[in-house]
């Protein structure tokens, strides 16, 4: 029963990995598949693998994927350019043929009644796994420990970056700022804070300069790139409305409303 509920969900999530554009969504769909697999392990009398699947796969490996996605950039989406002509269609067709062959072949096999693991699991699944792991598979186990050490050292070597320039100290950064001011007149002080108004004090509202134009440096560049910065005309409408509510006529006020360049 569990199988027939989980299997469609898992297949749908796995198919989703093929079709979603963003890598983050693919990672989350993979998490769905892995959790489904963990439950299936529990159904198949493998409680140890159930825990390991959740802890190691969903907990560690998928989080590693998400970390790397954050480092690489969430919007590193797939390109649709084909370097080999017709490769995508051919790969899909061949993959479907592989799946068809596998599924038809396997569904013609009769496996007979399952022996079940009651006998093998006497004394507990984890204890029995430990018995086998530390007797018959002890050399494989030792080899995996060497593999894990090698992997950890290899990851450190690959991720290491030699520092080519000396680290910027606070004094050198201050001197650089002064040089910038002398050469290009770049503002010395900190950036302007976002606008704080009666109706809006969110970070997406630009501060207004004395001449009424919005100050681009007062909102985060990330928000500007996403295009969620509130435009100055919308802000001016808000101000007009407040003034109307207060009984002032906005037309008599000298509020310059400039067209937002964004």
């Amino acid at each position: 029963m569990t199988f027939w509920i989980l299997a469609p969900i898992m297949v749908a999530a796995a198919l989703g990995i093929l079709f979603v554009r963003k890598a983050v969504h693919a990672a989350l769909l993979l998490a769905v598949v892995m959790m489904g697999l963990a439950v299936l392990y529990a159904v198949l009398e493998a409680p140890f693998l159930f825990a390991v699947q959740i802890i190691v796969y969903t907990g560690a490996i998928l989080m590693l994927f998400l970390f790397v996605l954050m480092l690489v950039g969430v919007d590193a989406s797939d390109s649709v350019v084909e370097t080999i002509k017709g490769q995508r269609a051919l790969a899909t067709i061949l993959g479907l043929i592989l799946g068809l062959v596998l599924v038809t072949g396997l569904s013609q096999v009769t496996l007979g009644t399952a022996v079940g693991l009651e006998e093998a699991n006497t004394g507990g699944n984890i204890e029995q796994l430990a018995n086998i792991l530390f007797s018959r598979y002890v050399f494989a186990f030792e080899a995996t420990s060497a593999l894990l050490i090698t992997a950890a050292v290899g990851a450190m070597v690959l991720a290491h970056r030699e520092r080519l320039t000396p680290k910027a100290t606070q004094a050198s950064m201050a001197a650089q700022r002064m040089r910038d001011y002398a050469e290009s007149g770049k503002h010395l002080g900190p950036l302007a804070a976002p606008g704080v108004y009666a109706r809006h004090n969110a970070v997406d509202t630009p501060a207004l300069l004395p001449d009424g134009t919005p100050s681009e440096s007062s909102v985060s560049r990330v928000l500007a790139a996403r295009g969620v910065v509130r435009s100055a005309p919308a802000l001016a409408d808000d101000i007009d409305e407040v003034q109307r509510q207060l009984g002032h006529d906005p037309a008599t006020q000298d509020v310059p409303v400039e067209e937002d360049p964004r």
Partner: protein
């Protein structure tokens, strides 16, 4: 028990198609993980079928190897991304020429 093996074959096929069609190296890597997981499911299903824990041990070793592989693979992807600002498998093609 057959249905578990069939599901495992389906997941393996989906992972296979993903490796062949997707261009983002990280998504390709996820599809490899999907294939490894599908194999694990078959191993655990056969362990129950035969009443033998060796299949579960094999699945356990696959998980350990997959963990080591992910660490190294993602480190390589990071290194390539650092030098060429791209995570696409098509961009790392200098060895071709």
């Amino acid at each position: 028990m057959t249905q578990y093996v069939v599901l495992s074959a389906i997941l393996f096929t989906i992972g296979c198609i993903g490796v062949l069609t997707r261009r983002n190296a990280i998504v390709v890597f996820m599809c490899i993980e999907l294939m490894l997981n599908a194999c694990n499911l078959a191993l655990v299903a056969f362990a129950k079928q035969h009443g033998n824990l060796d299949g579960q041990i094999a699945a356990f070793f696959v998980m350990v190897v997959a963990a080591a592989e992910v660490v190294i693979g993602l480190a390589i992807i990071m290194t390539i991304f650092r030098t060429r600002r791209s995570a696409s498998v098509d961009d790392a093609s200098l060895l071709k020429y």
